[in-house]
Symmetry: C2
Subunit: 730 residues, 2 copies
């Protein structure tokens, strides 16, 4: 199993494990509440972008000063136009630049001279266009450092603070006002989402599309939004981060108070191509992103509609405290769809308890079906919806209620929306509504929005939103200690010597026999063994270790030993070992004349156990990524692995094991003994330490690790590693 | 692994393997194009259901005669009202009945006397209400048999033939006219779907919600719709079939020409409860439905929006001939989302070939990114969309094209829709459109509908629709021979004797030792063995078979032998076998005093092989269901199984193996030898025969079956079975 992606390691250095410095939130104030905004490149011609920006600033309630800047104009949209930024009066905290790329550095410098604190560079023609643009972009970075300014962009759509009326974009439409901050790494996606939001009455507090993120990143904006009273939830559309560890660090803090939802695209090979040809951003593997999200409290979603469905749920209602849900409906079919979807997402739908049943019976009459879903049948009225949802919200059996309505001649969707709002008012648990259909339920949806009850069209959408809310709640309420960062200083002297020797040899691929002394010096529980260079050495080593032994080919070119017939197990005597040496080596030499055969590694057979793989690769975005999963023949076939970004906390290690199928075997399934899970947790933590404390170690894996029955530890039966950097040549 | 669901086997007899008789399509004519319709229980009061039905018949272009029937009225909505059905003049092919349940039998009989050929009984109060209603419903069935009539309902919404204008429902809204027939087992879901469809401009040809399906079923209507020129695709919302085999038989025929899409709900336990409390219908397991759909060419979908998304795709455009897709976009983000979704669904996105690249470059200019997705960037115009999609549709590289548009100030969605329509006209492969947003793309979506280009809002929806179309095409083009139905007549005499003996013993659970003689007589490749009742018999049998042997506890109460410590493998001599007998039996007797211990089954150790489980259970809806999957310790943990309804064709058996993870091991992964897959195919076919030819066999499983390397067959190492019916008592 090759954990490493060669392309990435060759082209960039992955981040190491150091602690990132937190974003400077204060310096971002100009992108939220500037006292005055200059538009450099303002235009008086409708249709031009420099016109659109001034128009948007004037049109949406922004209360600060607005200064069009253009040496050829006296006035733009009735405002006095200034010849340059130097002549703009106070206060001017922010400049929006919309001029050709080549002219941007000089203007940026002039902004610095004028005391402008923040700049939004809408202009394109920078890193996204190639090496020359990259150089121009680097010049911008030097300038803002000189003047201690912050820069959004270049090549961006800009930002909207819907609550202060600040709009630095030229986007021709605006979403309704609301509690959702939306950060989109694609400007086009941002525009489509705004249009979709206004069609559905979904309200935004803040919108940003930051383009090339030469300076200010989504991570910075997220950190600032955590202090924004008007933002209740942050929704991210992500193509790839430049600094994954900074994102994780900030997200860990932000998600203590504000939910973050993330839609990451570009994970599959085809998707990654689309992303890398679109922006200068580098797409990491989906697995690394998923792991990083889990560790930092971010909830991952799969589709745009799930992103906003979940955002509404978290913005409008408290998260559920647990996984017990009541479904209230006026039709069995949608109730069944909701039940199916909820059950698949791990929710339970218990029956109402006796008291709730009695109350529901009194409210709904004899024909209602008081199981769960609670089916009020087609004739359900607004007052029945109100009474029943109040009873369910008050019942201690449930953590959340989903009310489904199918429009028919007996009901009034708008009236039911009002009824649900009355029931939800004062409740301390979430109520979501699913009004199915389109034309007949439009007014109902509108009312639900007004009353902050998240409205869905399909039962499965409500179920997915509830799952996201539940996941956030679960992540938030679990302690997430910042794991400690180990250093090489903790290595024993003997291990440091061996390591330096290995690095000095300049090999990239390390075989089992090369690694073994180091692993023993670091006190990893490896199966004892030694390298035999001829049959008689094999016999001697077998005598010393005690039979039975395993024999394995040792060659840096043949890391997948069993694939080339390079493994013999259960060899029962020194004599047999001597004979097996020749039988093993001869056909391999014939078949792989190019391979350097160092000999045969003779190793004591380990006590049986559950076969597990433990590995590490360095992700270009997040750094060392630790992996655990089913080992042996099932590794490639099952792909049963869980990953986390190092350093790991012990909770991370336990979560990883729990996520895998082999984790169920380890916990003792079908009469099998429970395996030593704690020993595996310990191994994962030590592997995390090893990855963090040895940056030249590019990739390694232990496969198989045999996890013995509880209390008896585990044995690393095989190991291989790849070194990188100037020390290694593959 | 308990394959059987006790609740079902105790309450109903699953269907056997006989060939179902095809639906009588001719007799359904009254529900499609009746020359005259009587409405029995017509009302002149708006709001009453009997008014709504007459109103709908009058309002939607129905050209036949309409006869309100009500003894208390002279006129309804300007039409003469008749006192009873006897006095209604010719022609009258169909009667719609909307009167109290108790009065229905007499009126139904009067319809029969009058020569009415079809009846739609909207009235509720039948099987859905309990035993008394069930009896009333049975009376209806007797009456229609007496008069050779067909009955839709009772307790139903009715049918709409949108093209003939026939509408027997009281639903207050109608979908637009179009190519999709929608059959909904839930009336409420039907109403919500109609509302949703009219909001989105989705057109229906036929709608039916058949209620209790006392006579006419969805299967019957499907068979008739296959001959309906106006129906291009059939969409089903299913809670459960009464006769799964009849559905399969008809669907196999219909899907040769007309795609069928099915959304089945009620598969999970919680969902099943919602369904069974809602209708009299019985929810089978989702797995059985999935298997039946696959075998009969039906495409299963997961959500309502996927159901109609796929229906549009198949109704509007030809299905793709393969899995190679071009994505054309004016924005990278949505392109990446489409790529991710398509890749996950198994599609490929190859680069344009040289000729196509040159043509695209000429049409789109220097800045367009000519990989795949083909990104025309934000400024793409209608004529660029037209040129590029024409080039891609003509390129032999692609089987389908998805054109994505994000609205911005540079484009006109309605114009792009027209442009795409021009490009698609005359193309022999599908073009789908994804116009993202809401308000800004409404007109564009409308135009796409008009030009029969399926419009989606999200890229992943377009991808799912394409996957469904591709799946239908793939199923349709594969030969699906009706498998032959085996009978007990083909059993050897010796096997029949043993079987009759087993039945005569009256046991429900059959242990390995009881089953072995039968399996040998039927020539199944079992590992040879014999029952030992004491240690010395164990030694003797070991001598006869030859060591090494396996010892396994034989007790009808202890079917999961390894769970109770009842298995010893690799016993190497007769003496060791005698000793192991005692060591095995004594602790089990202590731990399970209630179990009847018949002795120890001594069995020759089989040659190694890949561990597989092969089993059968009888599904209440579809009859015998054959299962194959990963055996051994992974059975319960992986749940890596594939299922099909018996009888199996050999293609079914191969498909099953291919669907499993263990199938990849069998084909030889990571340097392992290929296993004897053909021997496993043969075993599955013989297991299918066994299930079909022995109806008293309720459930059985072989676990593990060891599949040896290619050419060396397989060995059934363990077997157990459950008998049912009057022969068995558990």
């Amino acid at each position: 199993m090759d954990l490493i992606d060669e392309k990435h390691t060759k082209t960039m250095k992955p981040p190491d494990c150091r602690e990132p410095s937190p974003p400077d939130v204060e310096s971002l104030a100009p992108f939220f509440e500037p006292r005055g905004v200059a538009v450099i490149g303002a235009s008086a011609t409708p249709g031009k972008l420099g016109y659109g920006v001034v128009y948007n600033l004037l049109s949406h309630g922004y209360q600060g000063q607005i200064y069009p800047v253009n040496p050829h104009l006296d006035e733009v949209l009735g405002r006095r136009c200034y010849p340059d930024i130097a002549s703009v009066p106070d206060p001017v905290d922010l400049a929006v630049i919309i001029i050709p790329a080549k002219a941007v550095p000089a203007v940026l410098r002039a902004c610095g001279e004028r005391g402008v604190r923040g700049v939004v560079a809408l202009s394109g023609g920078f890193a996204e266009t190639g090496p020359e643009g990259q150089r121009l972009q680097e010049e911008l970075i030097r300038i803002i450092h000189d003047y201690n300014m912050r820069l959004v962009g270049p090549n961006c759509v800009g930002v909207m603070n819907l609550h202060s009326g600040l709009d630095t974009t030229f986007v021709g439409m605006r979403p309704p006002l609301g509690p959702i901050a939306f950060l989109s790494q694609s400007g086009a996606m941002g525009g489509a989402a705004i249009d979709w939001a206004r069609g559905r009455g979904l309200g935004f507090s803040y919108f940003a599309s930051l383009g090339n993120t030469a300076d200010v990143t989504e991570t910075d904006i997220m950190a600032r939004l955590a202090h924004d009273e008007d933002t209740h939830v942050i929704a991210l559309y992500i193509e790839g981060f430049h600094d994954g560890r900074a994102f994780m660090h900030t997200a860990r803090e932000v998600t203590r108070t504000t939910p973050i939802l993330a839609l990451k695209v570009g994970g599959t090979e085809a998707g990654a191509r689309a992303v890398s040809s679109h922006t200068a951003s580098l797409a990491g593997s989906n697995e690394a992103y998923r792991a990083a999200f889990k560790q930092s409290g971010v909830v991952a979603v799969d589709t745009v509609s799930q992103l906003f469905g979940a955002a509404q749920a978290l913005a409008y209602q408290p998260p559920p405290a647990g996984k017990s849900v009541a479904v209230l409906t006026n039709a069995g079919g949608p109730g069944a769809i909701a039940s199916d979807a909820l059950a698949q997402l791990g929710f339970e739908l218990p029956m109402p308890d006796e008291a709730a049943q009695a109350a529901l019976r009194a409210a709904l009459g004899p024909s209602a079906q008081l199981v769960n879903p609670i089916d009020m049948l087609g004739g359900a009225s607004s007052s029945e919806y109100e009474a029943a949802s109040r009873i369910l919200l008050q019942s201690s059996t449930y953590d959340a209620v989903i009310a489904i309505l199918v429009p028919n001649s007996a009901n009034d969707p708008a009236g039911v929306a009002e009824a649900l709002a009355r029931a939800a008012s004062g409740a301390n648990k979430p109520l979501y509504a699913c009004f199915m259909g389109d034309v007949a339920v439009r007014e109902g949806h509108k009312r639900l929005h007004e009353h902050r009850i998240p409205p869905y069209v399909f039962p499965e959408s409500a179920a997915h939103a509830l799952a996201a809310a539940c996941e956030w709640q679960c992540r938030r309420t679990r302690a997430r200690p910042q794991p400690t960062f180990p250093t090489q200083a903790t290595w024993p002297a003997r291990a440091c010597e061996i390591r330096d020797d290995l690095l000095a040899q300049g090999r990239a691929a390390l075989t089992e026999s090369a690694l073994h002394p180091l692993l023993e010096a670091l006190d990893f529980p490896v199966a004892r063994g030694e390298l035999a260079r001829d049959p008689s050495e094999a016999a001697d080593i077998t005598k010393t270790l005690g039979a039975p032994v395993a024999l394995k080919i040792a060659s840096p070119q043949l890391l997948h030993k069993s694939d080339v017939g390079g493994v013999r197990l259960n060899v029962k005597s020194p004599q047999a070992a001597a004979q097996a040496f020749g039988e093993l080596v001869t056909p391999i030499i014939d078949a792989h004349p190019e391979a350097e055969i160092q000999g045969v590694f003779v190793q004591r057979m380990a006590e049986p156990g559950v076969e597990v793989i433990v590995g590490m690769r360095r992700d270009p975005t997040f750094g060392p990524l630790i992996l655990v999963g089913a080992g042996g023949v099932y590794v490639e076939i099952l792909k049963d692995v869980a990953m986390r970004v190092a350093p790991l906390a012990s909770d991370d290690a336990r979560d990883m094991i729990r996520e895998t199928v082999v984790g169920r075997l380890l916990r003792g399934a079908r009469g099998r003994p429970r395996a030593d899970v704690e020993a595996l947790v310990d191994l994962l933590l030590r592997v995390s330490d090893l990855a963090c404390s040895w940056p030249e170690l590019a990739e390694f894996e232990f496969n198989p690790v045999l996890v013995h029955p509880q209390g008896r530890g585990l044995t690393i039966v095989d190991a291989r590693a790849i070194l990188r950097g100037e020390h290694a040549s593959r």
